[in-house]
Symmetry: C2
Subunit: 387 residues, 2 copies
């Protein structure tokens, strides 16, 4: 991208990103040794004694900025290491590589923070729409947005379209497809999007509602942009994608080139944050990183549902998606996974109004009349949030 080339040229050698890690040491070596190894592993990846002076002088090697013991946790240290921003080539794949590529294969290293300098933030740019843009499109300005999932796979086109219409009639704001909803024989992609969007638009027109429909972009490399074209030609405003299935750079492509709202699904990401002693925290991965690379709405597993994360971990994701971050727009957190209507008070407390509330199977359990379930969902929002 020309913008990135220009930015790359403007970057002075002291423009660095800083990564905070939590290291747990169990081999008797010093935290200084561990930190230095990490810094080298994630930059030049050659034996320390072989690093040419010219490389060190240019700041290309990771630089240990600080090491501090974590209070009350024996052998645990908080380490900050900085790297030249341009080690990322200002490209999403290399950005992720610099953050965690090789150290993913080590143990007892957790990325807990990212400090990204202005030019790097500008190069990636964050969400195209963000909270503000999505609110403008939906016309919903105060309360959280209500979302459900179109599922399960295997239903007929007729049935899916009918369910979609029910949800629209009930007044939901967003309908995303299930992440398993691929180009399957029961409901091939093109027909499915056309039938469902048509049913939704008809229902929106007759009810005065404005439900948006986000199909799942699930194809291989060659299908992705074809699927995006089908989505746009049917009038859909956004898509669901799983960055760790199709490639994280697709967030940017679908967002900037195709001008689609991008809702990200966390498929395959759990391994990075399910173990606090090794990985990338949910806050950093599903929050900061996904926001920086362009997610407008980031779905992540919430506490109290089918997945066992703490309320604090989850609140941190919301915080990372919405706090001031350079000129980047705030993005919507979408806490998910077995959410039900009786958790509405907890959702309000933990996330507030600038949230997409996703209840999938919970609506099916509520009632077999999906329009009724949807309406109940909307009432619950009205009850717990300012409108």
């Amino acid at each position: 991208m020309k913008v990135m080339d220009e930015l790359a040229q403007r970057i002075e050698s002291d423009e660095r990103l800083a990564i905070t890690y939590r290291l747990t040491i169990s081999d008797g070596r010093s935290p200084e040794d561990h930190a230095r190894d990490l810094a080298v592993e994630q930059s030049v990846e050659i034996p320390f004694e072989c690093i040419p002076d010219e490389i060190t002088d240019r700041g290309i090697v990771g630089r240990v900025e600080s090491i501090a013991p974590v209070p009350n946790q024996e052998k645990v240290f908080e380490v900050v290491i900085s790297y030249r921003s341009d080690n990322t080539a200002f490209s999403v794949p290399q950005f992720i590589n610099v953050i965690y590529g090789n150290i993913s294969m080590k143990r007892d290293i957790t990325v807990t923070g990212l400090d990204l300098p202005p030019l790097l933030l500008e190069a990636f740019g964050g969400p195209t729409f963000g909270i503000e843009g999505i609110r403008a499109i939906t016309g919903v300005f105060k309360r959280p947005l209500a979302c459900t999932a179109l599922k399960p796979i295997g239903l007929s086109l007729k049935k899916l379209a009918s369910m979609a219409a029910d949800y629209a009639r009930g007044g939901l704001d967003l309908l995303k497809e299930d992440h398993a909803m691929a180009d399957l024989a029961y409901h091939p992609f093109a027909e499915r999007i056309a039938r469902c969007q048509e049913a939704i638009m008809r229902e929106n027109a007759s009810s005065g509602h404005n439900m948006l429909y986000f199909p799942m972009i699930s194809g291989g490399f060659d299908e992705i942009e074809k699927q995006a074209e089908i989505v746009k030609s049917n009038g859909c405003k956004g898509v669901l994608i799983a960055p760790f299935l199709i490639g994280a750079d697709l967030i940017r492509v679908l967002s900037r080139r195709h001008n689609l709202i991008v809702m990200t699904h966390p498929a395959m990401t759990g391994a990075y944050y399910c173990d606090p002693s090794h990985g990338i925290t949910m806050e950093v991965l599903m929050g900061t990183i996904f926001r920086v690379i362009g997610a407008d709405i980031s779905i992540f597993p919430n506490a109290g549902g089918r997945f066992s994360y703490t309320a604090q971990e989850c609140r941190n994701v919301g915080e990372a998606l919405r706090r001031p971050l350079g000129k980047l727009k705030p993005a919507f957190p979408c806490p998910a996974g077995g959410m039900t209507l009786d958790r509405m008070a907890a959702m309000a407390e933990n996330f507030g109004s600038e949230t997409v509330l996703l209840i999938g199977g919970g609506l099916m359990q509520q009632s077999s009349d999906l329009a009724k379930s949807a309406a109940t969902f909307m009432e619950a929002i009205e009850q717990h949030f300012e409108n």
Copy 2:
């Protein structure tokens, strides 16, 4: 792909893939309940009682095939669950999603085995070149292939080309780029590939050697195929890619469409196998999955180097890459990460000759005369392997 459409139509509803999991139970619920939840999570993902009969009748829901306690491990069970092959849409992203998408966010579930039926294997097709094809191109038929890495980032084009020529003079078989070697200002992609390949070809011609050079395909979505074209136009026969940075389907694209040998790098994968209690074993991910989706050479972290995996885990990867698997060609294991010449006997014992031996920084440590280090590497291979 038309082939996949035809295959999809041919798939009978009883064509299923089977996944073996190790479950560790700590919540007092029965293994039957856990297994059923898993089967549902990875297929229809709706509350069990809401699953329509038509969906169950078509076998779309994951089916628990067996549950067995693991001997001598309290509360650990081996569970086999089968899924319709076509839930994958015969596409790489959905294949991976079916294997581990949502359960990545759970805890205490490890994918330990994959049993893939013939039509699914045929749909993906495995390596284009594999061991046999690469041996034919290199002209090396018996011994392991010797590989090193071009690094570190930040060196000048002149220096990189000179190092590449040294390695060729020393007689190595393969030179891969470091996975950090992106389109960086010090050595922009197009010039770097051109200069290095030119230097290598000149050296190959004068020495009678035949070193292949695999550039790192590191760009975003739009750069990938442009980089592939540059690689091919310079006469390179293969590439290095990191599937978990740019998207796993790129293995297939670069392999089938661009006819390039694909060497895969494990960046970002470690989180899946670093913890035996939750994830995907290295054997299944870096072995079976990468082979099925087309890797010709799979790099993975070896025991005894910078990463702390067991010899058995690593041998299992070699086994998964090379054992008979439908009509799929065997692929080369490439155990890596801090390998040195004094580990050659262990490498021979653990992996045998059908292996790519990767020694990176170890060659730099051996001698500052890289041609001499490379020659020493070749001698060590001759000493420990049949030629």
